[in-house]
């Protein structure tokens, strides 16, 4: 399987502090990779580096065969930040139409994306009037517009209704099956089982890298939460 992301010795400095300490990893096309770890461990910084909006990145980081941040990559990456990052004073449809024009994607992308994130009933509502979960879904829809080859999703399921969360994980799965590389961050360990592969992260370094089953076996734990704890204790010891 081909790698959509390859990193070696990836370091990021923010202010005077190094927040990512020489990471080596790869992300494969056709898989859902979970980036799991507590708040503040560097998940967002890592994702920003992938997308090419993070300053002070050193080491080697290749995305879809090019250095991260290359102009040619911009149409190929869908990125969802923790904030919705859409225009509050426009409707859902107006927002998505605008981003579609910027991306040069076909018009049909708008209605497809609205359907995927289940916002058909709210498509003509102004974003300001939507709930937090609905807003973050507008952000997700915007990231899906250009048929990206790599989807970078920073905590996309926070605060969502479990039914919808289930649906969205189904969507991520479908996209991966279609060959898209999907990387999803979460601080909720119970989402781990839905991923093909996990990168467990703590304090800017990886504790483990492997399938959920492999990680549980390695840590002799029944679930990822306990595996995480066991790995932390092991690393400290």
């Amino acid at each position: 399987m081909n790698n959509v992301v390859e990193a070696s010795g990836l370091r990021v400095v923010r202010g005077k502090r190094e927040v990512l300490h020489g990471l080596d990893f790869s992300i494969r096309a056709g898989e859902v990779t979970g980036l799991l770890g507590p708040s503040g461990c560097g998940k967002t910084t890592l994702m920003r580096a992938l997308v090419g909006v993070q300053a002070k990145v050193t080491g080697s980081l290749t995305v879809l065969g090019r250095p991260a941040g290359a102009a040619a990559l911009r149409p190929k990456i869908g990125y969802v930040t923790q904030e919705a990052s859409v225009y509050e004073d426009l409707t859902v449809t107006e927002n998505l139409k605008f981003f579609t024009r910027v991306l040069g994607a076909p018009r049909s992308a708008v209605s497809d994306a609205i359907e995927t994130v289940d916002l058909i009933d709210h498509k003509d509502q102004v974003v300001r009037d939507l709930s937090g979960g609905q807003r973050s879904r507008v952000g997700l829809a915007a990231a899906l517009l250009g048929s990206p080859e790599l989807l970078v999703l920073d905590e996309p399921t926070v605060g969502l209704d479990p039914v919808l969360r289930e649906q969205l994980w189904g969507t991520f799965r479908d996209l991966a099956t279609a060959g898209v590389g999907v990387i999803v961050s979460s601080h909720v360990m119970d989402e781990a089982e839905r991923c093909d592969r996990l990168l467990l992260m703590r304090d800017g370094a990886f504790l483990a890298d492997g399938s959920p089953a492999e990680i549980k076996q390695k840590a002799s734990a029944d679930d990822i939460e306990h595996a995480f704890l066991a790995l932390v204790r092991g690393a400290v010891r």
Partner: protein, 245 residues
């Protein structure tokens, strides 16, 4: 840079303004109301003061309004994360800035068109030169406000700060542009300062239009203002960074 993307930004900015009815009404009506107030103030004055300062204000109002509107809107774009999303997409910085300049330029055309029409048609502002040129100068002044507003929004982290840039950047230009004291009667240091401020040239262009039919001086003043617009947009584009800490 692409025309499609530039126009996408323009269309989106106009859609946002259209939805914000109160802002839209104020944009179109306020300068005209202020001109009317000024006319009323000097209605019983024997000296033709309205004719002297009216043209300068036709240059100043669009400049102030667009400066404020632009600096707050772009700051919002920076803080809401939409700018980061756009810069992670295939959008050129030039598309973004020109898209904004075009949208606000269009609004300025409406705003100035109404203000000039009322001033000349109803309030009897005497103009020797061409009325159409007066509108053109007013639009360029508004775009100047947009360019400077885009630039200062990079140096503001909150909307409070952005609004404070108005007394810092706009008011000194109003004081030194020749509205209160003719520029050649200013102390020489201040005159030298006023020579490098864009609003001085904007007001000079308006004054030429009112006092003479010749357009040579107007074009050269306009060229200076346009130079400041280009410089402001170029510097503003340098402040739009795709990679941030």
């Amino acid at each position: 840079m692409s025309l499609r993307r530039t126009l996408a930004v323009t269309g989106r900015v106009l859609a946002q303004i259209r939805r914000d009815r109160r802002t839209l009404v104020m944009l179109v009506v306020l300068p005209t109301l202020l001109m009317s107030l000024l006319w009323w103030m000097y209605e019983e004055s024997p000296a033709p003061i309205f004719d002297r300062i009216g043209p300068a204000l036709l240059a100043i109002f669009p400049f102030i309004v667009m400066f404020l509107v632009t600096s707050v809107t772009t700051l919002r774009e920076r803080s809401s994360g939409t700018l980061e999303r756009l810069l992670a997409m295939p959008l050129g910085k030039g598309d973004f800035l020109l898209g904004y300049a075009l949208a606000f330029g269009l609004l300025a055309a409406v705003q100035s068109g109404v203000a000039v029409a009322v001033s000349v048609g109803l309030l009897g502002l005497e103009i020797t030169g061409s009325v159409a040129m007066l509108v053109v100068v007013a639009i360029v002044d508004a775009v100047l406000g947009t360019a400077l507003g885009l630039l200062v929004s990079a140096f503001a982290t909150t909307e409070f700060q952005a609004v404070q840039f108005m007394p810092a950047i706009v008011v000194p230009q109003i004081l030194l542009c020749g509205l209160l004291v003719p520029r050649d009667s200013l102390p020489s240091v201040l005159e030298a300062i006023s020579d490098v401020l864009p609003l001085s040239y904007a007001v000079d262009a308006m004054t030429h239009l009112v006092t003479s039919t010749g357009t040579g001086d107007v074009w050269s003043d306009l060229a200076v203002v346009a130079g400041f617009v280009v410089a402001g947009l170029a510097l503003g584009s340098a402040t739009l960074r795709r990679r941030t800490p």
